[in-house]
């Protein structure tokens, strides 16, 4: 019978439509025809499964390195194939049989069928994550089924038909397919041609009315032809190109660490119907911010496992995105579990600042933080941040020769150093501190009730995950609970720690930046400071910021900022603008996890690529990228609204605040900004 080779899927489907008119049965090969793999080598999908089995064994006190697990799996599979070859023409193996034997060998008496089920589920999840249905074939199959044709899927594969059915579910094809036939069930494969007569007999098919489509010229072409079946072979150069690219990235990543991140992104990339036209912001979320957050989350999980942290609190509002990413990524990254509990904690600098004063009073270090942002000028700003009523301090201020409006910041007009010294002296005054504690006491009680309800005091070691930058949220949070006997050890894990002011670290209060930490020189990662606000806006939760905690009759209440004023409305507008960006980030989570699990790499492996990513996108961005990613509005209640001296902040305008015109037509602008950044980092 006729065997025709086609070099494009479109031409094959066109010819297939014509041929299918006088056929009753159309069968398809599954792998590399109906479903294509993201990875060039299907055996690579077995590696995360070996790691999973090794981890399960470790949980039971059995020490099996994953490479040994993989070696035993290959050995047992080969043995099964050799045994099959004694009775059958094909060298086939059946997954449940050889996997059962492998698990029995590893887990011995503690083996049970639930274990096999768990491993099989993970193997199918990994397979599924690496398989993509070819859109044009999916549409054709639906069309054929609609025309009353009988559709069969035939595969030479170690997974039995029941498992292949699960893979077809993802493609949405189960309902259109009459039967899935796998060589693992009968050991009669297409390779020898024995499968075709067996299928014809079992399902009463006439070879004359049967057309088979596949990619292998021997098993799908020649053998089908020998059985009297019309065959169409697809030889798609586009697919060969794609696989060849993935193969090179994968192979190069072995010797050159730089490519490890690139192969990750290549494996994450959407294919076929997943690769839809979207806004430029979606692509930025998917290709730029998504992988960065993925690596951050992966490192958080690793850190928590290494340090026996039993609960992670994702701090509002950026923690909202981190938590969502975690929920999507962890099932693939850590299938064996053993991860800490997670919780989203409503906090903010403004809400915690006041509560932090209830026991220790207002410290000089905390008061100094108030005057870091240039928009804060006087004691009223201190009161705004620490939730104090300035009127109650008039007598204290007068005692030290100050007024509520006396300028205390050197970046404002009217600053007299003596006033700042008087202010520092006032902080030493007991009656002043008593008033501070009195005013913030209730807020602290409400906060502690909320934290207790969230389970913060039920663990010895907790992680506080936040975007960054100075660590003020964790500083205030820890100070607010440090007096308690059940205060846990707090590990602050920040996306970027730009620090700026010394952090009061202790054995129970530790903070570190994961992607960037100013305490270690990392030029490429330091480019995060080019556009910190963008990271904040990209990860921000779609709820208003927390203003404070209030005691009520029932217990406590969270007080959120209003959304009906100009700032609230601006924030809502910003939410709408960044919606595609956030969608891109979240959509990347599962694919990041699958690709990272398959590659088995960690933070240090991705780092060279991340460095490139940050430098390229932040320090040398395209004009269009700046226009797209630059946020429209950014709320920061901590920063006051007072205007500093006219000469303050004059100098080189930051790159991301430059006009589109300058970005487009000034060829040296990026390099100038970068050298200025480099000088600052060296001088730190």
């Amino acid at each position: 019978m006729e065997v025709t080779t086609y070099y494009s899927l479109t031409s094959m489907v066109e010819a297939g439509r014509r041929k299918a008119c006088d056929k009753e049965v159309i069968s398809f090969d599954l792998f590399d025809t109906l479903l294509v793999r993201r990875i060039h080598d299907p055996d690579l999908v077995k590696l995360p499964v070996a790691r999973y089995i090794a981890e399960l064994a470790k949980q039971q006190g059995r020490h099996w390195h994953w490479q040994k697990v993989q070696e035993r799996r290959d050995h047992i599979e080969q043995k099964h194939r050799a045994e099959t070859a004694i009775q059958f023409a094909d060298h086939e193996a059946c997954y449940p049989l050889f996997m059962r034997e492998l698990l029995l060998e590893i887990f011995q008496s503690s083996y049970d069928d639930v274990l096999l089920e768990k491993v099989t589920d993970y193997e199918l999840t990994m397979e599924n994550s690496m398989l993509v249905p070819r859109q044009i074939l999916v549409e054709w199959i639906k069309e054929l089924a609609g025309a009353g044709k009988r559709i069969f899927i035939i595969s030479d594969m170690y997974l039995p038909a029941t498992h292949l059915r699960q893979l077809l579910k993802y493609a949405g094809l189960n309902e259109f397919v009459e039967e899935v036939i796998s060589s693992a069930d009968t050991f009669l494969a297409k390779a020898s041609g024995k499968a075709y007569p067996m299928i014809a007999e079992k399902y009463s098919l006439s070879p004359r009315a049967w057309m088979h489509i596949g990619d292998n010229p021997i098993s799908d072409g020649m053998r089908a032809g020998e059985a009297g079946i019309d065959a169409m072979i697809i030889h798609d150069p586009g697919e060969q190109q794609r696989k060849s690219i993935v193969k090179r990235y994968y192979n190069y990543s072995d010797g050159r660490p730089f490519w490890r991140g690139r192969v990750l992104q290549q494996l994450m990339a959407p294919l076929e119907a997943e690769n839809q036209l979207n806004s430029a912001l979606y692509s930025e979320g998917y290709n730029f911010l998504g992988p960065l957050i993925g690596v951050f989350i992966q490192q958080v999980a690793r850190f928590c496992k290494e340090n026996e942290i039993t609960k992670i609190f994702f701090l509002s509002r950026e923690g909202w995105t981190f938590k969502r990413y975690w929920e999507k990524a962890m099932p693939s990254l850590y299938p064996a579990g053993g991860l800490p509990e997670i919780e989203y904690l409503y906090v903010s600098r403004m809400a915690l600042a006041g509560a932090s004063c209830a026991h220790q009073g207002l410290t000089k270090a905390n008061a100094d933080i108030t005057f870091l942002p240039p928009g804060n000028r006087d004691f009223r700003d201190v009161c705004r941040i620490f939730s104090l009523e300035p009127e109650a301090f008039i007598c204290h201020l007068t005692k030290f020769g100050l007024q509520a409006d006396t300028c205390l910041s050197h970046v404002h007009d009217g600053y007299v150093p003596k006033n700042r010294k008087n202010f520092d002296a006032m902080l030493e005054d007991d009656s002043f501190q008593d008033e501070v504690k009195r005013q913030t006491g209730e807020q602290s009680l409400a906060m502690q009730q909320y934290f207790a309800q969230a389970g913060l005091f039920d663990h010895k070691h907790i992680a506080l995950v936040d975007i960054g930058w100075l660590g003020t949220i964790q500083r205030f949070l820890f100070e607010a609970i440090a007096h308690r006997a059940d205060c846990p050890t707090c590990f602050g894990l920040l996306f970027g720690a730009t620090r700026g002011i010394p952090y009061p670290e202790s054995d129970k209060n530790i903070i570190k930046g994961i992607m960037y930490d100013r305490n270690r020189f990392d030029l490429a990662a330091s480019t995060l400071s080019y556009a910190q606000d963008i990271f904040e806006e990209a990860c921000r939760a779609p709820h208003p910021t927390l203003n404070g905690y209030r005691l009520t009759k029932e217990g406590f209440e969270l007080e959120f900022r209003q959304t009906n004023d100009a700032i609230g409305k601006a924030e809502l507008e910003q939410d709408g603008y960044f919606m595609p960006l956030q969608q891109g980030i979240i959509d990347s989570a599962e694919r990041f996890a699958a690709a990272a699990a398959l590659l088995g790499y960690y933070f240090e492996d991705w780092k060279p690529w991340l460095n490139y990513l940050l430098v390229t996108k932040l320090a040398f961005p395209r004009t269009k990228e700046v226009a797209n990613i630059r946020h429209r509005h950014h709320l920061d209640d901590f920063h006051g609204s007072k205007k500093p001296k006219s000469d303050f902040g004059k100098g080189l305008v930051p790159l991301w605040s430059q006009s589109q015109l300058r970005l487009k037509f000034n060829p040296f602008l990026r390099m100038r900004c970068f050298f200025s950044h480099l000088r600052r980092r060296i001088n730190e």
Partner: protein, 79 residues
């Protein structure tokens, strides 16, 4: 509107040509630690694959069988 992966199987916004430019700049300007960077040969192969991969594989798919003789000669030289 655009897709996250372009028709050359290159990642939108992180194209291989952009990477090559940054890799070149990083030879002269300290840009951070790229752990050895991409490597010239790897870059050249990948640029070739991304930009000329499709016509190359199309030719190979259609006429690759005619290269058997050349491949055998090349294999002899390799050994």
């Amino acid at each position: 509107m655009k897709s996250s992966l372009n028709s050359r199987y290159d990642i939108d916004g992180l194209e291989i040509s952009r990477l090559a430019r940054v890799a070149l700049w990083s030879k002269f300007v300290p840009m951070g630690n790229f752990h050895g960077g991409p490597g010239g040969r790897c870059l050249a192969v990948l640029i070739l694959l991304h930009y000329l991969g499709y016509p190359m594989y199309l030719l190979l798919a259609r006429y690759g069988h005619r290269l058997h003789l050349l491949r055998r000669i090349a294999a002899k030289f390799r050994t």
